[in-house]
Symmetry: C2
Subunit: 315 residues, 2 copies
């Protein structure tokens, strides 16, 4: 992180109990406490791909860059500790842009008690690139197989129910920038219930549900009628020139940043009855021993469902 | 990290005792052990700025992207634990490029026992951007002011000598890609001697020495005659159309990735006599109470020295 930006940030960063040494040295030093594991995640967003700087305020881009990482930590039931920020800034107006980005990053970091522990700031002739690495902690449990309290994608079992926080679809109308990472929800759920597996929905409800199942070496069947559809999904279906229904948008739009959870049926029943969150918890499907992604239509029969969502292509 | 690359990497990544959960989930889980602190650093390299893909093998770019981070960990006397890799790949040939990059990253990671703990891989119409975050550990020491064994930039004291590993200048002829991060040297020095402060030379010997002094709220005076000049610096002076001497190159070229250390005179004398490393340790200056960067010429008089090296500019 370069000196002007360091000075700018030092004025704005509150002290953080976990940050023993922050921006300005060769690296940051984090205290994660005893019997804790560090959880690390990185996301890179690029102008023209993940956002368009000519259409969105840089503050919202900065906020989202951190928020997507915090959503990943939420999907692990990790407590966020720190983040480091790497920037490739356009030469013209780069410093002002960097500050605007941090105007979105810092309030979100403060809200969730995340130390901005350092970074690397560069300028070039290319478009803005912002890469944030977030580090969280989870309680380490000393057992023979040395596990931890982190939720993984791989723990779902056939017969588990698939639960979801919030609602889906149409995030491009605003939520894809302004969503709240489900850290508080994850904390509440991790404290009260045994969750077998979890993922956050970034690429799309259908494709991320199928990933959760695949990592758990089982399949998953979505009850299409029970999927909570966001008003934005209906709005988008009205606007859209294509023939996509609100349900199509809910299944495939992505960037909902809600949590999908695998839970045994008894626990699921308790969670659904107690509704411990300020947002709805809904059962939207079940895990099967048969691999793949399936749908249960209203008639009750099970048929294959095409995984929908954002797929990363490489040539 | 996307599925094809994850599969590619899973085949090539050895198990790592600190990596409880690696690439493929929402985040990685690292065990840092008890009474340890995590050390985190990030560096972003961009095609056309830090390297030119039409001039250098991607493997060397990948290696360097990790090596610069490991050099930062060395400058903290941290043991490397893990790294995460974020990529913006050109659409055409992106996957092949990513693999070539990892052909440089993985052997270096293996050499220094670094777990590649995850990443984020993207493609776009722009040039290659690679951002690596490295995480290391240092022993946490329980004291009233809660310190750790990490070297910082801020501990130099007036009267300390400035010691350097290796030699300086002309790195652009090859060393800037193929340098060995001074992790082994840092470990040896940290175990045997009390080091007050340290920095690695990335932007230039003169400017990085002045940063070490400034962070320690003192000044530093370089003994120009004692600076170890690399053969490449002399070679570059011969090739250069400018009137720069080998010493000028040693002072300002940067990317030497050697360590600068602040040590009290008695310890320094012992280090210089014992020469515990496989590369030379040389006293090249001393810290002063008077702030700023100074030079001692052969006649012995002290005059200001212009900080030379790579300065990051923002508009």
């Amino acid at each position: 992180m370069e000196s002007e930006l360091i000075a700018y940030l030092r004025e704005r960063l509150p002290p953080h109990p976990s940050l023993r040494l922050g921006a300005g040295d060769d690296a940051a030093i984090l205290s994660l406490g005893e019997s804790s594991d560090a959880v690390v995640t990185v996301d890179m967003l690029m102008d023209g791909v993940d956002f368009r700087l000519d259409e969105v305020a840089p503050r919202r881009v900065g906020r989202k860059s951190l928020a997507v990482n915090l959503s990943d930590l939420a999907a692990m039931a990790a407590e966020p500790v720190a983040a480091v920020v790497a920037l490739a800034l356009p030469k013209q107006g780069g410093m002002a842009l960097a500050k605007s980005l941090y105007e979105g990053i810092l309030p979100l970091a403060a809200e969730f008690d995340v130390a901005i522990a350092g970074g690397d700031t560069n300028s070039w002739d290319g478009p803005l690139v912002i890469s944030i690495t977030a580090i969280g902690s989870v309680k380490a449990i000393k057992t023979a197989n040395s596990t931890s309290t982190a939720w993984r994608r791989s723990g779902a079992r056939p017969g588990d129910l698939l639960l979801a926080t919030g609602e889906f679809g149409g995030s491009i109308l605003g939520k894809h920038f302004d969503f709240t990472p489900r850290l508080r929800e994850a904390r509440i759920l991790a404290e009260r219930y045994e969750i077998h597996a979890a993922i956050d929905v970034s690429d799309g409800l259908a494709i991320d549900a199928s990933r959760l199942a695949a990592e758990s070496r089982c399949g998953v069947c979505l009850n299409l009628a029970s999927i909570p559809i966001a008003p934005a999904a209906a709005e988008l279906a009205r606007q859209s020139p294509h023939d996509e229904s609100p349900l199509d948008h809910a299944l495939g739009d992505g960037e909902d940043f809600e949590l999908l959870l695998a839970v045994d049926p008894e626990t699921a029943a308790r969670m659904l009855a107690e509704q411990p969150l300020s947002i709805p918890l809904t059962a939207i499907g079940e895990f099967l021993s048969e691999p793949g992604l399936w749908q249960r239509a209203e008639a009750g029969n099970i048929t294959p469902l095409e995984p929908r969502g954002y797929l990363h292509h490489f040539e």
